[in-house]
C-alpha cells in the first residue's frame, strides 16, 4: 500500500499542474474562462496602384506591417493578377515583392492582413536608430538650431524636449514658417531631434476604423529615451498611440518601392470582425505553430476539425464521472450500474432532456416486461442478454417508426441511446426485481435517473462545455478531485438518515448492564493504550491469562463434580 503522504503529494502535483496549465492557456493564448467573450479582428487591405513605364519589367516592393504590442497578425494574403509574388527580406525587414515582365495599363495590387486585438501581445520589431549626422542647407540649419535652443531651455528630458519643439514649430513666427514651408513636419522634427543627439524616427500609422476605404497612413515620430520610446504626433504634439492605431512601418526605410512604374500610390481600407475569443485563441495557436513553435498549446484546437468534434464529447465524460463519484461517495445515491447514468446522460445530450427521459422510461419499461417473460424460459445468461439487446433494438425501432408516423420527428432521436448499456440495465433491474422486489428497482431506477439528470445538467452547461473543451488542464484537476474523493472516509449523506434511529437509540438507552456509554469507555481505554502500549499489553496479557486459567480450573472442577 502506498503511504498517505505520497498519495497527497501526487494529488497536489496533479492539481497544481492542472491549474497551471489552465492559467498558462488563459494568459498566453487569451482563452477566456467564460464562453461568448468576443475579440476584434481587423482586416486591413492595402491597395497599390501604379502606371507601368513602357516595356520595362515592373518590380514592386511593399513593406509588411510591423510587429507591435497590442496586435497579433493572424494571416496575410495578396491578390494580383499576372504578378509573381514573393516574400523577401531587405535590410532585415519583411517585404512583399511583386514582379511582372510586361505590365500594360494601370496596375492594381492588393495586400491583405488580419490583426487580432491582443492585450497579451508584447513583441515589437522596433529598433533604436543610429543618429544620422545630416547637414542641412542654410538658412534652415540656423533656424533649426534656433528652435532647438529655444526648446532645450524649456525642457528637462527627451520627451519634454520633443513637446517643446513641436510647440515652437506650431508658433506663428518667422522661424517656424520658414521651416514648415520647406520641410515635412515629421521629418523636420526628426532632424531637430537628431541635432540634439536624441534618437528619433519617422513611422507610419494606420487608423483602424470599421468599414473605411481609401485611408492613408499618418506619420508619427518615435522618440527614444534609452530603449524605451514614446510616439508623438508631429502636428499636435500628442504622445502615445490610440488603441485603434496600427503601426505599419517602424523603420527608416521606405514603405513602397516601384521600379518600372510611375504614379505609385497606396491606400488602405479597414474592416472590423468580431470573433469568439476561443476561435481567436485557436487562430493564434495556429500562427505560432506555423512559426515553428510546436509546444505552444495544450488545447484540442490544435487538432484537425474532425477529431475536435469527437473530443468535444469525450472530454465531457470526466465531468459526468465526477458527478457520479460525488453522488455515490459523498451523497450515497444508489444507482444500477456504476457509470450507466453517465452514458444515459450522454444520450440525453443528443436527444434533449424530455425526449430522452420519455424514451428511456419507455425502453426500459418495455424491456422489463419482455425480460420477465424471458426469465420463465430458463435461458443461459449470454443468450438472455442477447435476446434483451435485440428486444431493445426492436423497441427503439418501433418507437422511431411510430413517432415518425405521428409526425414527431423528435422520436427518432431514441437511436442515440447506447443499446448494450440499456440491455444490461434491463437485465440488472429485472434480477433486482426478482431478488429484492419492485421497491428496490424503483429506488435504484430513480437514483440512476437522478444521477443521469444531474450529469446531463452539468454536461449540458455551455460554460462546462467551453471549459472542458478549451482547457485540457481541467482533466488533471478532475483526476485529482476524483482521487481525493476516493480517499474520503466520512459519512455519506444518506447514512446520516440511515443511522438516525441508531444515534437516537444510543442517546436514549444504555445496553445491558453498562454504566457508561460504550464508545466513551472504549475511547478512554484507547487513550491509555496509546499512552503506553507495552504496559497496557502486559497488563492485559496477565489478566487474560489469569482468566483463562481460572476458566480451565472451573471446567476441570465441573468435570470432577459431574
Amino acid at each position: 500500500m502506498v503511504s498517505r503522504g505520497v498519495f497527497y503529494v501526487v494529488t497536489a502535483i496533479l492539481l497544481l499542474t492542472g491549474l497551471l496549465l489552465i492559467a498558462y492557456q488563459h494568459l498566453t493564448f487569451g482563452v477566456p474562462f467564460v464562453p461568448g467573450e468576443q475579440r476584434e479582428v481587423w482586416s486591413v487591405e492595402a491597395k497599390i496602384e501604379f502606371d507601368p513605364q513602357g516595356n520595362t519589367p515592373a518590380i514592386v516592393n511593399f513593406a509588411l506591417p510591423a510587429i507591435q504590442p497590442g496586435f497579433t497578425q493572424l494571416k496575410q494574403s495578396t491578390s494580383s493578377l499576372g504578378f509573381g509574388i514573393d516574400y523577401i527580406k531587405r535590410h532585415g525587414l519583411n517585404y512583399v515583392e511583386w514582379t511582372k515582365r510586361n505590365a500594360i495599363g494601370a496596375q492594381i495590387l492588393y495586400y491583405q492582413a488580419d490583426f487580432l486585438v491582443d492585450a497579451s501581445a508584447y513583441a515589437s520589431s522596433m529598433t533604436v536608430p543610429e543618429i544620422e549626422e545630416s547637414v542641412e542647407p542654410e538658412p534652415y540649419a540656423t533656424a533649426m538650431k534656433e528652435v532647438e535652443n529655444a526648446a532645450r531651455s524649456r525642457s528637462a528630458d527627451a520627451n519634454s524636449f520633443t513637446a517643446q519643439v513641436i510647440r515652437e514649430l506650431n508658433q506663428e513666427n518667422e522661424t517656424s514658417t520658414l521651416l514648415t514651408k520647406e520641410y515635412n513636419r515629421a521629418r523636420l522634427l526628426v532632424h531637430i531631434l537628431e541635432m540634439a543627439q536624441i534618437p528619433a524616427r519617422l513611422i507610419r500609422v494606420l487608423d483602424l476604423e470599421d468599414g473605411r476605404r481609401n485611408r492613408q497612413l499618418s506619420e508619427k515620430v518615435v522618440v527614444f529615451n534609452g530603449t524605451s520610446y514614446t510616439i508623438f504626433d508631429p502636428k499636435t504634439g500628442v504622445s502615445g498611440l490610440a488603441p485603434n492605431q496600427l503601426i505599419w512601418t517602424d523603420n527608416g526605410y521606405s514603405m513602397l518601392d516601384v521600379t518600372g512604374g510611375r504614379n505609385a500610390r497606396v491606400s488602405f481600407s479597414t474592416l472590423c470582425n468580431k470573433i469568439s475569443a476561443v476561435e481567436a485563441g485557436a487562430l493564434k495557436t495556429n500562427v505560432k505553430r506555423i512559426a515553428g513553435d510546436e509546444s505552444v498549446s495544450f488545447s484540442i484546437s490544435s487538432l484537425p476539425i474532425e477529431e475536435q468534434s469527437l473530443f468535444k464529447s469525450i472530454l465531457l465524460l470526466p465531468i459526468g464521472v465526477l458527478i457520479v463519484v460525488f453522488l455515490r461517495i459523498i451523497v450515497g445515491v444508489k444507482t444500477s450500474g456504476t457509470f450507466m447514468p453517465v452514458l444515459i446522460a450522454m444520450a440525453f445530450l443528443e436527444t434533449s432532456l424530455v425526449v430522452g427521459l420519455i424514451g428511456f422510461v419507455a425502453i426500459v419499461g418495455a424491456g422489463l416486461i419482455v425480460r420477465s417473460w424471458l426469465s420463465h424460459l430458463n435461458l443461459l445468461l449470454v443468450a438472455r442478454i442477447s435476446a434483451v439487446i435485440i428486444t431493445v433494438i426492436i423497441i427503439i425501432g418501433a418507437i422511431s417508426v411510430f413517432t415518425y408516423k405521428l409526425g414527431l420527428t423528435e422520436g427518432l432521436k431514441v437511436t442515440f441511446f447506447p443499446m448494450i448499456i440499456l440491455a444490461w440495465t434491463i437485465e440488472r433491474m429485472s434480477i433486482l426485481w426478482e431478488e429484492e422486489g419492485y421497491k428496490e428497482v424503483l429506488k435504484q431506477g430513480s437514483g440512476s435517473l437522478f444521477v443521469a439528470i444531474s450529469a446531463y445538467l452539468a454536461m449540458n452547461s455551455v460554460f462546462v462545455q467551453h471549459f472542458t473543451f478549451n482547457f485540457l488542464g481541467l482533466q488533471l484537476v478532475l483526476l485529482s478531485l476524483v482521487l481525493l474523493m476516493g480517499n474520503y472516509t466520512g459519512f455519506r449523506l444518506t447514512e446520516m438518515k440511515r443511522f438516525k434511529p441508531l444515534v437516537d437509540q444510543i442517546k436514549a438507552n444504555r445496553n445491558g448492564d453498562e454504566k457508561e456509554q460504550e464508545a466513551k469507555r472504549l475511547y478512554t481505554e484507547l487513550k491509555e493504550v496509546k499512552h503506553d502500549p507495552h504496559q497496557a499489553y502486559r497488563n492485559w496479557k496477565n489478566k487474560v491469562n489469569d482468566q483463562l486459567k481460572e476458566e480451565k480450573d472451573n471446567n476441570s472442577q465441573d468435570g470432577e463434580t459431574k
Binding site: L380, K497, F499, P501, L502, I506, G512, V544, L548
Partner: protein, 333 residues
C-alpha cells in the same frame, strides 16, 4: 416557505455527523477504505467467494463445517450424482458462488416407494428434476454475474432446538464480525414472513444484537426500528441466548487464521449434535450490525488496532480480550 420548514426539520430526519463520530458509528466509505481495503488482501477474496475453497481451507484448519458429500464441477459429473449421494437421505445442494441463499435445494428424506427425494417443503422431487437443478447451478443461473459455477452437496444441518420460535421458516444464523482475529460484534438474523424466509435485514428479517461476553440478546430491530417480540411467532426476543457461546466465538476467531482476511463476517449455525459450524465467510460484511447492537463498530476496531503484538495472541486470548472489552452484560455468577 416549505423549504424553510424542511430546513428546520432537517435535524429531525438526519443525524448530526459529529454525534455519529462521537458514537463511533462506521460508515460505508470508512469501512471500504480503512478496513476492507487495508486488511483484506485482494488475492484472498476467492477463498471467501467460492464456498468450495472456503470449505477446503476450513478442513485444513480443523474448522467445523457441514460435511461435504461431494462436488459437481462439470456436466459429465452429473451422471455420477447419485453415486456421490449414495445412501444419504438428508443433504443440501448449493452453488459454490451463490449469494443470498439462492439455488439452495434442501432434501430431507427419500421416498422408499418411488425412489424420489423429498424437499424441505415436503414435496417430492424426481431424480430428473434434481438433475436439472444441478444443471442450472452449473450454468450459472444462481451465481453472481451469471458465471459458470459448481454445485456442492453437503450434509444437512439440524438446527438447535433453542432457536425454535425465534425464526420463521428459515435458517437462524449467527453473524460475527472478526477483525484481526478478534470477535468484534455479533448479531443473529431471524427470518420473518416479511423477509420471505430469507435472513436479509433490509428485506424485513429481524436482527438481534448479541453480547460478545455472554451470548445474550442485547436488543432487536426490524426495519431499523427496535422490536421486542418476533413479528410472526411472538417470542420475546430478549430471551434469546446463543448456547455454546465460547465455542461460537472461538470458531469465528479461528476463521482469521484460516483465511488471512483481516476484516470478515463469519456466518455460523448451531447444529444440534455437532455444535457450531461455519456456514460461510463474507469479506464485505454489512453495517446494519451496529444498529442491532446499539453501538458503533469504530471504538472496538480502533482499540484492537492500537493493541501492540496482537498477532501473537492465541485464539483463546483473543476471545478473552473481546469478551472483556466488548461485552454488554456482566458475566454470570
Amino acid at each position: 416557505m416549505s423549504l424553510l420548514t424542511k430546513l428546520i426539520s432537517l435535524p429531525k430526519r438526519y443525524a448530526n455527523p459529529f454525534t455519529m463520530v462521537q458514537d463511533g458509528i462506521m460508515g460505508m466509505n470508512q469501512r471500504n477504505v480503512n478496513y476492507i481495503g487495508r486488511y483484506n488482501r485482494r488475492d484472498l477474496f476467492p477463498l471467501v467467494d467460492n464456498k468450495l475453497l472456503t470449505k477446503r481451507i476450513a478442513i485444513e484448519h480443523n474448522v467445523n463445517t457441514p460435511v461435504l458429500i461431494g462436488s459437481i464441477k462439470s456436466q459429465q459429473d452429473i451422471q455420477n450424482i447419485f453415486d456421490i449421494i449414495g445412501a444419504n437421505t438428508e443433504f443440501c445442494i448449493k452453488p459454490a458462488h451463490g449469494s443470498g441463499g439462492k439455488g439452495i435445494l434442501v432434501i430431507k428424506d427419500k421416498n422408499a416407494a418411488t425412489g424420489n427425494y423429498v424437499k424441505s417443503s415436503g414435496l417430492d422431487i424426481t431424480k430428473h428434476e434434481l438433475n436439472r437443478h444441478v444443471t442450472n447451478i452449473l450454468a450459472g443461473l444462481f451465481s453472481l454475474g451469471g458465471k459458470p459455477d459448481f454445485a456442492l452437496i453437503e450434509t444437512l444441518i439440524h438446527f438447535d432446538d433453542v432457536f425454535s420460535g425465534f425464526s420463521y421458516d428459515g435458517v437462524p444464523d449467527t453473524r460475527v464480525i472478526v477483525f484481526q482475529g478478534f470477535p468484534v460484534m455479533c448479531m443473529m438474523r431471524l427470518s420473518t414472513s416479511a423477509s420471505d424466509g430469507k435472513a436479509n435485514l433490509h428485506q424485513g428479517a429481524v436482527g438481534v444484537g448479541i453480547c460478545i461476553r455472554t451470548g445474550k440478546a442485547v436488543r432487536a430491530v426490524q426495519y431499523n426500528q427496535p422490536v421486542e417480540y418476533h413479528p410472526d411467532t411472538d417470542r420475546k426476543l430478549s430471551e434469546l441466548r446463543v448456547p455454546q457461546w465460547d465455542e461460537v466465538l472461538k470458531l469465528a476467531a479461528s476463521c482469521y487464521d484460516m483465511s488471512g482476511l483481516g476484516y470478515i463476517g463469519t456466518d455460523i449455525v448451531l447444529d444440534r449434535d455437532k455444535g457450531p459450524m461455519l456456514l460461510e465467510l463474507n469479506a464485505r460484511p454489512g453495517l446494519a450490525i451496529q444498529i442491532c447492537n446499539n453501538a458503533g463498530l469504530l471504538p472496538r476496531l480502533r482499540l484492537i488496532e492500537a493493541l501492540p503484538k496482537r498477532q501473537r495472541f492465541s485464539v483463546e486470548q483473543r476471545v478473552e480480550f473481546a469478551k472483556e472489552h466488548f461485552g454488554v452484560f456482566s458475566p454470570d455468577k
